[in-house]
Amino acid sequence: MSEPAVIFDNISKSYPMYHHFTGGIKNFLFHLPKALKSLRGSRYEALRDISFEVRKGEALGIIGKNGAGKSTTLGLIAGVLKPTKGSIVVRGRTLPLLELGGGFHPELTGRENIMLNGVLLGLLRAEVRKKMDEIIEFSGISEFMDQPIRTYSSGMLARLGFSVIAHLDPEILLIDEILAVGDLEFQQKCIEKMMDFKRNDVTIVFVSHSMGAVEMLCDRVVWIDDNAIRMSGNTKEVVKEFEKAERNAELLRYVKGNL
């Protein structure tokens, strides 16, 4: 068994309710004592006592309903969020796979955006330049590289984004629901590249609503429900339980709706 790349030890994460502030100075100042008090008192709990490990080279799936805390978990691993309680260990360079066009600028060409994205994600300019041809080649849309990406289709944007990530030599890859874009041929290419990553001992944390993709890629799955871990372990078993719960919930809604 290899060493863990990510360790979550009893992690809790809560946010202050920022709307007290963002609601405006007027509101805030006129109700200052109350506002300060409620600020301290009311916090939104996004994660509660989460513990898990991801071993090096392992692909971990995170599933759960919307708002369960999946994206918060990814944010904590990426280091953009700090836990309120508990400690996180992350060993290795993490790379988030941005959503469609995130970190891109529509007016710039494909080539310029590769540079922008590569440097944003931690490469030096010289390193991006060295890999430029390879990235363009992989994307399969080299004939559009000198056009502004506002002219790209969403499939082409996905190709560009994934191609950059694929050439960044990540050690820990964070994927938040992304593979559902692009045509079949490119999706196939993405899956192959992921498998490639796995063979090369890249750790993958994969958040998805697509159980098919989770089953194909992940070695283990953590199911987060209501901001806490409901179940974790073998992919097949957890996915089965999750789908069962989903069906039951559906059924319950249906029954309630008819009463």
């Binding site: 993490t94 710039l108 944003l120």
Partner: protein, 253 residues
């Protein structure tokens, strides 16, 4: 911490901003000059032609104050949106957030440099010529203004995601400062008993220094000292606010 990657990041982001600004319209450079020039024209009509201010070379006087002011005002005015506009990046990627407001100030600074030839052109029209002291004066004053502007932008860009009213306060504040700073009028016209207040305005000594440098080629050590003090203080305050709040940006956005 300034690493090689941080520098590369700044360079790429600045290139991006410049390209975006000039690419989308053929007249990119023209527009970035036309804006302060249009202001100058408006004030010229209002104060020289209509209110008949008693000043020689008023047009030249106006642009030597307006151009550096535009740098500060433009940067500060866009800074509320710096993090909000890049929310998806801030929420997912762990990069140095301070780079974003830095690039804003940097690119407006570059535009200011690019607008200096217009000042030179006006000087020739008024039979004046640039002075040698510009060679050290411009870099010094740019350094001072850069620090001050960056300090303000750090505060505004960091706080605005938490306090969205910041946006409106800032544009009002900028307008106040504009009229309270000797830009469209000379400091000599400020009534004697209010003159001491000029030194309480952090941008006034700087703007006066810019104009003196452009018009007469002089750089007053007293004004410069006050300006430097203000800019160091502003930057220190801005950086402290940023340090305290920046890690929460991904939560609030």
């Amino acid at each position: 911490m300034i690493t090689r990657h941080y520098i590369d990041f700044i360079v790429v982001l600045t290139q991006k901003e410049m390209k975006v600004r000039y690419k989308s319209s053929v007249l990119g450079y023209f527009w970035s000059i036309a804006h302060p020039l249009a202001f100058a024209l408006i004030f010229f009509i209002a104060f020289k032609i209509i209110m008949k201010i008693q000043m020689e070379n008023y047009a030249l006087f106006l642009i030597t104050g307006l151009f550096p002011w535009q740098w500060l005002a433009n940067s500060v005015n866009v800074s509320p949106m710096v993090f909000i506009g890049n929310a998806s990046m801030v929420k997912k990627v762990n990069f140095s957030r301070s780079a974003l407001p830095l690039v804003t100030v940097l690119q407006d600074g570059i535009h200011f440099v690019l607008s200096i030839p217009v000042i030179v052109l006006f000087m020739f029209v008024y039979h004046k010529s640039p002075s040698l002291s510009w060679l050290y004066g411009i870099p010094i004053l740019m350094g001072v203004q850069f620090m001050m502007t960056y300090g303000v932008c750090l505060v505004v860009s960091t706080i605005n995601p938490f306090f969205r009213d910041m946006e409106r306060l800032v544009s009002l504040f900028i307008m106040f400062m504009f009229y309270l700073t000797p830009i469209i009028y000379p400091e000599s016209m400020v009534p004697e008993r209010y003159k001491y207040l000029l030194n309480l305005n952090p941008v006034a000594p700087l703007m006066i220094s810019w104009r003196n440098l452009f018009l007469d080629g002089t750089l007053d050590a007293g004004l410069l000292t006050i300006s430097i003090s203000y800019s160091v203080a502003t930057f220190a305050f801005g950086y402290a606010v940023y340090k305290r709040l920046s890690w929460k940006l991904a939560e609030v956005l």
